[in-house]
Symmetry: C2
Subunit: 155 residues, 2 copies
DNA sequence: GGATTGTTGAGACGCTGTCTCATTCGTGAT
DNA sequence: ATCACGAATGAGACAGCGTCTCAACAATCC
């Protein structure tokens, strides 16, 4: 029974070993409805009785970020979150601050803005980051309370 | 002897008390050459024999961020940095990853991008953030070592 | 000057992310 | 299938960040 996720594939292709903790994490990540934090993965792993050390979660997330399979977000709260990235192309995200859902955005005009800013300021720009925060269509429709991650609100 | 910085003025106008620690911090912040972290302020305060509690630094930075006198950056390293903001208008920053210098950028086209992304995804976008990282003109010119704050990320 | 109330200092606290090092286990070769 | 090698893991220590509490203090208004 091989439930091979894109993450496992990416790890394999990059020459990383397909260990049990990595497979488990790949499944956990695939189940995340939106963005997630390292701590949430640790909690989910515990809940499913998967024994994965905290250090392994961080290490794996680092690897995945390096592969572009996952991207790190800086949430307005100051936390570090992660999102799975489908394509390997450069893109950015809109994040729902209510349910945590994220969607990808990609606008060719951004490239122009970055280029012109570099020209105007004289910087050599190596990297840029655009993040939008708001409320997703679903949460807008149902003006209710957060719909997921009830376990986070428990003592 | 009243050396009144813009930060002190902003605090005053917003109805906050002008205490000694806040005045000291205003001076420390005004002296920062580029972006800075809470820990750096604490260190600078110690170096100048100013007694300011760590908690006060965090609290004051929170207040200043609320006033828009300062903005929080999420550096690629994962650290949280701050920059002073001159105008009250919405803008973004280019950050030099070598010396820590920052400059403001403001492009009207970004507003269009955000608006269109909102339209396309159906989100109500409340907030957005654009950060550019690279090397400033001065550091480009002198391809030398970092001129200040060697603990900042080196190439 | 005195009262009021926002602010501070000090330290405890919980959390994040890193590191070490002995042990385990994928993997490719045999 | 077995083996040997080196990558990866687990467990826990560790350092740093940011928050909180609470008694003591002091800026402001009267």
């Amino acid at each position: 029974m091989e439930t091979s996720t894109p993450i496992v594939t990416a790890l394999d292709r990059a020459g990383y070993r397909l260990t049990a903790p990595r497979r488990s994490l790949a499944l956990l990540i695939a189940d995340q409805p939106g963005h997630f934090t390292a701590a949430e993965l640790v909690a989910d792993a515990r809940a499913r009785r998967l024994r994965i050390a905290r250090a392994t979660v961080f290490r794996t997330l680092d690897v995945l970020e390096g592969l572009g399979a996952v991207e790190r977000l800086d949430l307005p709260s100051g936390e570090h979150g992660y999102v799975v990235c489908e394509g390997a192309h450069h893109h950015h995200h809109v994040v729902c601050s209510r349910c945590g859902r994220t969607d990808e955005i990609d606008d060719p005009r951004l490239r122009l803005i970055v280029r012109d800013a570099a020209r105007r300021t004289g910087y050599r720009v190596d990297e840029h980051r655009l993040e939008l925060f708001g409320v997703c269509p679903a949460c807008l429709a149902s003006q209710t309370r957060p719909s997921r991650r009830q376990h986070l609100t428990q003592p």
